[in-house]
């Protein structure tokens, strides 16, 4: 049955394509038949001419037969569509300006939507490229300790496997080169649990994760291509991570990017290697309360997410009890109260992705608005055109074309326009999504996202295009086909088709455009104000002229001799020319993705455990506050006296003082790290002004600064940051500083950043949203203004006669000017009102992205509506001015 249908379709299509041949063949076939018949008649003795006639007679109506056969072969609807398409294409070619503008508007609208959606798609919708991603789940609650992971593994009978991972930036050396690299630290069944096969060699296996197993590493496809030129011989080679050798055993496939989209771990190593990399944190595998692992699991085939979650809720308390049995009862309570739950990980570990996807949803909403403005613009243009073409339509109708036929014709024309626009838009989208990914990338790490379009993107684009087509063509097409040919033919060419309803519709479209543009513009203004607010914010330090140098003593070969390394680095930095002052710290002033060191403190021997109110710690060298420019309010800075043999000291910020010493003089009091009272107390020796710790948007944190030499041990194995305040612009000092440090050792890995760049990076989301919405707002403003201008020009030409009469009767130029201007101001005013109301109503959806301003910020809304009103007035002024210059004699003569 199906084969028959296919056969038929094939034949018909062939007939459609070779229409000429079909006709010729039919001609030949019938001619042959007639000739044979005539010959037969001749053979029985008929005169040749008579034979021919007799054959003809016997055959009957040749033309009718031909027509019947042709009808059989051709697809009528397709033929008619082809005809409409040809006609439409001809009409569009005849007005290239109109075509170009409409195609451009649609391309922008559809392209921008597709671009944002493809980025969002790869973040939010695309499944992990592993077998059966729907069975993957992750554990809510950010992080878990190793003993908890082990316990969940043994008790989790609903899972076919449970695996854990952590990300870290470690120093990796290969073939004599080295660079800080994103390393994924995974449990032994990570790859097998996900179902990832190595493209070369093998993946991490369970035995690799045994304590004491020989250290192995698996490379990502990207790392392998970039660092080993894609040479298969890389497998088997040895690389050094933090100075320790790891044997490369395999390469993961090119589409595998770890468990969170946008993250790009380049090397994967087994969990237990952490013991080797950080000898000081060897206890971490036994520590039940230190959460550092993220957990994921694969459900058994017959188990649903709900079943697994309820099973987990049953055994979870026992997991906590089993792992914390050695902790004294009074401190055990907070741990036992911890909760967790399961969530689907089909698209990856979503907590990491939601941070990225939030601004993207907003952008999608904004580009949707732009598309709407574009649709209104195109509808207006099409509408004007269909009115201008009323005469043509009327003539066709008078000649007998059915309304349906004309309606189809107009729809096909807009279909052609939308198809062209969408095609251009797809080109624009592929460029746009790449640009968006670049915008989302920070200066250091690039975001790796697979934004190649898949079926979801195509479906989305198709839907967008279809809605666009509907939005911008149906109303004008219906209107045009409703024209009554009788009266329309009689009317003059100018007024034709523009009755009251048309006029109202055109004005309504302009008001829509203005209000949508106001909505976009007020968004732009709010986001711009938000960004400005953040940039103007006092972070508690001076951001200019500070160069940050990130280095790693362990990778430089100073493992165990960190103190010596620190002193050498500081000495050389302070000696270098152009350096005002230099210091070291564990975390840079805006630590951002480097994370934070947080914990509870005890004040004068009394533990303070407040959930969500941890104290932030940083380890700094003397001179840190002077270098970054955080004012010391009371007490003293660290100095040489704060050495490992001296009593331990700390400097705290105002927020900590406010929280713990509201009414007393804080200096001289003691704090200690954590609630473990056996640890040594730290005496507060100074108080500094509040400064931002991780990012500008955060609330004021309680921060305790610890002296670096006594805490050198705590810094072992981690990167250290040197802050250098320079007299020249910071970036220009990079080379000098590099020379200076390389004087200690040529192999020291160095990474430079300026403090301004770091702050720039933390404002990425705010900036992207502000920049993109400004771009979109400008386009919307342009489109709305152009539509308004077009409408007013048309209105003036339509009312030229009336204006002529008014002027002839003594109306002043000013009165005429006002007559026209009033109309455009009224339209703009209506649009602005609607737009402002919409902004106020929709504002709460973006509150989460704002800092220091609200979505109802009066200044921002004022700027947006002011801008729109003034541009609209200007757009109305030009035709109004022209109208006021009309010569009544000329216009009246034309009538």
């Amino acid at each position: 049955m199906l084969r028959e249908a296919l056969h038929e379709i094939r034949l018909r299509l062939r007939a459609l394509v070779y229409r000429g041949r079909l006709d010729r063949d039919l001609e030949d076939e019938l001619a042959f038949h007639l000739a044979m018949r005539a010959e037969k008649y001749r053979a029985v003795g008929l005169d040749p001419d008579l034979a021919q006639a007799a054959a003809q007679r016997r055959f009957g109506n040749v033309l009718g037969l031909k027509e019947a056969c042709r009808e059989l072969w051709t697809l009528n609807a397709v033929e008619r569509l082809a005809q409409d398409l040809r006609y439409g294409a001809r009409m569009l070619r005849r007005s290239p300006g109109f075509t170009a503008v409409v195609v451009l508007i649609i391309a922008l609208g559809v392209g921008a939507n597709t671009a944002v959606f493809s980025v969002l798609n790869s973040l939010v919708f695309r499944s992990l490229p592993v077998p059966e991603p729907g069975r993957l789940v992750y554990f809510r609650n950010p992080s878990f300790s190793y003993p908890i992971f082990q316990e969940v593994k043994t008790r989790g009978t609903v899972f076919s496997s449970v695996f854990a991972w952590d990300n870290d930036r470690l120093n990796v050396a290969w073939n004599g080169e080295s660079a800080p690299t994103q390393v994924l630290i995974v449990s032994g069944d990570f790859h097998s649990g996900l179902g990832v096969q190595a493209s070369i060699g093998r993946t991490i296996q369970v035995t690799d994760d045994d304590v004491g197993a020989s250290p192995v590493a698996v490379l990502s496809d990207r790392f392998w291509r970039r660092r080993f030129e894609g040479n298969p011989a890389a497998v088997g080679k040895s690389i050094r991570i933090e100075g320790l050798p790891f044997r490369v055993v395999g390469v993961t496939p090119s589409d595998f990017f770890g468990v969170a989209a946008a993250a790009d771990p380049e090397i994967t190593i087994p969990l237990t290697a952490i013991v080797r990399l950080r000898p000081q944190s060897a206890g971490i595998l036994r520590q039940p309360t230190t959460g550092w692992l993220k957990l994921m699991a694969r459900l058994k085939p017959t188990v649903t997410l709900q079943q697994a979650d309820s099973a987990l809720q049953v055994f979870w308390p026992r997991v906590l009890e089993a792992t914390t049995s050695e902790i004294p009862a009074d401190r055990r309570q907070p741990y036992l109260a911890r909760k967790t739950g399961l969530a689907s990980a089909r698209t990856g570990y979503s907590p990491a992705q939601s941070a990225f996807s939030r601004p993207l949803w907003l952008l999608l909403a904004l580009v949707c608005l732009l598309l709407l403005v574009g649709c209104a613009s195109v509808a207006n243009l099409m509408f004007a055109r269909s009115s201008a073409r009323t005469r043509e339509i009327v003539v066709r109708m008078a000649l007998g074309a059915s309304r349906r036929r004309i309606w189809c014709q107009l729809l096909v024309e807009s279909l052609v326009l939308v198809a062209l626009g969408t095609a251009c838009g797809l080109l624009f989208a592929s460029w746009g999504s790449d640009a968006l990914v670049r915008l989302l990338s920070r200066s250091g790490d690039s975001v790796i996202l697979d934004v190649r379009p898949d079926w979801r993107v195509f479906a989305f684009t198709l839907c967008t295009a279809a809605l666009t087509c509907l939005g911008c063509s149906v109303v004008p097409a219906l209107r045009a086909a409703r024209v009554d040919p009788g009266p329309a033919l009689k009317e003059s060419a100018r007024i034709i088709g523009w009755n009251r309803n048309h006029w109202r519709l055109a004005r309504g479209l302009v008001v829509c455009q203005v209000s949508l543009s106001v909505l976009l513009l007020s968004g732009t203004a709010v986001f711009a104000r938000n960004l400005a607010q953040l940039l103007a914010l006092d972070p508690g330090f001076h951001r200019d002229n500070v160069l940050l140098l990130i280095t790693d003593p362990a990778a430089a070969g100073y493992r165990g001799r960190e103190a010596l390394f620190y002193r050498q680095v500081l000495d050389r930095l302070q000696r270098a020319s152009g350096v005002e002052s230099a210091s070291l710290s564990a975390f840079a002033p805006i630590s951002d993705t480097d994370g934070a060191w947080t914990g509870s403190v005890s004040i004068d021997g009394v533990p303070h455990v407040e959930p969500g109110q941890d104290t932030y710690f940083n380890v700094v060298s003397p001179g840190y506050f002077a270098t970054v420019g955080t004012p010391l309010l009371r007490g003293r800075d660290f100095g040489p006296q704060d050495n490992p043999s001296a009593p331990r000291t700390a400097i705290v910020n105002e927020a900590l003082v406010r929280a713990f010493f509201p009414n007393v003089h804080a200096i001289g009091h003691r704090i200690s790290l954590g609630s473990d009272l056996s640890r040594k107390d730290l005496e507060i020796v100074g108080i500094v002004k509040d400064a931002k710790y991780q990012r500008l948007q955060e609330p004021t944190r309680r921060i305790a600064y610890l002296p670096y030499l006594p805490f050198a041990e705590a810094l072992r194995g981690v990167e250290i940051v040197a802050e250098i305040r320079t007299t020249l612009p910071a970036a220009a000092m990079e080379e000098t500083v590099r020379q200076e440090i390389r004087g200690i050792d040529r192999e020291i890995p160095l990474r430079f950043e300026t403090l301004t760049a770091r702050i720039h990076d933390t404002l990425m989301t705010e900036r992207v949203v502000a920049v993109v919405s400004a771009f979109l707002g400008a386009i919307a403003l342009l489109l709305a203004t152009a539509s308004l201008y077009g409408l007013m020009v048309y209105a003036v030409s339509r009312r030229a006669g009336e204006i002529g009469v008014r002027v002839a009767l003594g109306a002043s130029r000013l009165a005429v000017l006002w007559l026209v201007l009033r109309e455009s101001i009224l339209l703009a005013f209506l649009g602005v009102c609607v737009g402002l109301a919409a902004s106020l109503g929709l504002g709460r959806f973006v509150e989460g992205l704002l800092y220091g301003v609200t979505a109802r910020d009066p200044l921002a809304l004022g700027i947006a509506s002011g801008l729109m009103t003034s541009v609209a007035t200007l757009a109305g002024f030009v035709p109004a001015h022209r109208a006021s210059l009309l010569d009544p004699v000329v216009t009246l003569r034309q009538e």
């Binding site: 028959e4 018909r12 030949d28 076939e29 042959f32 000739a35 056969c69 059989l72």
Partner: protein, 115 residues
């Protein structure tokens, strides 16, 4: 449509039989349209005369349904002619229609011969 010769009102004579007769005509190998018409007429002893205006649409319909294949070739007198042949599907269709026909005509004969 088939028309029994001499009976003017036989236009509706057994509708649908033309297709079957055409298939039968091609059972021994490809022929062109004229030859098909002639064969049917000759074989039926001039009783069945194919109306030529109906033959070609019927041929084309069968071709579209995939029961016939068509090929251009040279006729005996060196003219370009379109030769129709049975496809496998056509052969199957012929067998089915022939069986149906035998059953039907047998039944009609039985009825008509009944006393």
């Amino acid at each position: 449509m088939l028309r029994g010769q001499g009976t003017d009102d036989a236009g509706e004579l057994l509708p649908g039989t033309l297709g079957m007769l055409v298939l039968k005509a091609l059972a021994r190998g490809p022929r062109h349209g004229y030859a098909i018409a002639e064969w049917i007429q000759d074989t039926s002893g001039d009783v069945l005369r194919v109306e030529e205006g109906a033959l070609y649409p019927a041929l084309h319909r069968l071709e579209l349904r995939g029961l016939l294949s068509a090929e251009w070739g040279m006729s005996d007198n060196n003219r370009r002619a379109k030769y129709y042949g049975l496809t496998a599907a056509g052969r199957k269709q012929l067998a089915a229609e022939a069986a149906q026909w035998r059953r039907l005509s047998g039944a009609i004969a039985q009825v008509m011969l009944a006393t």
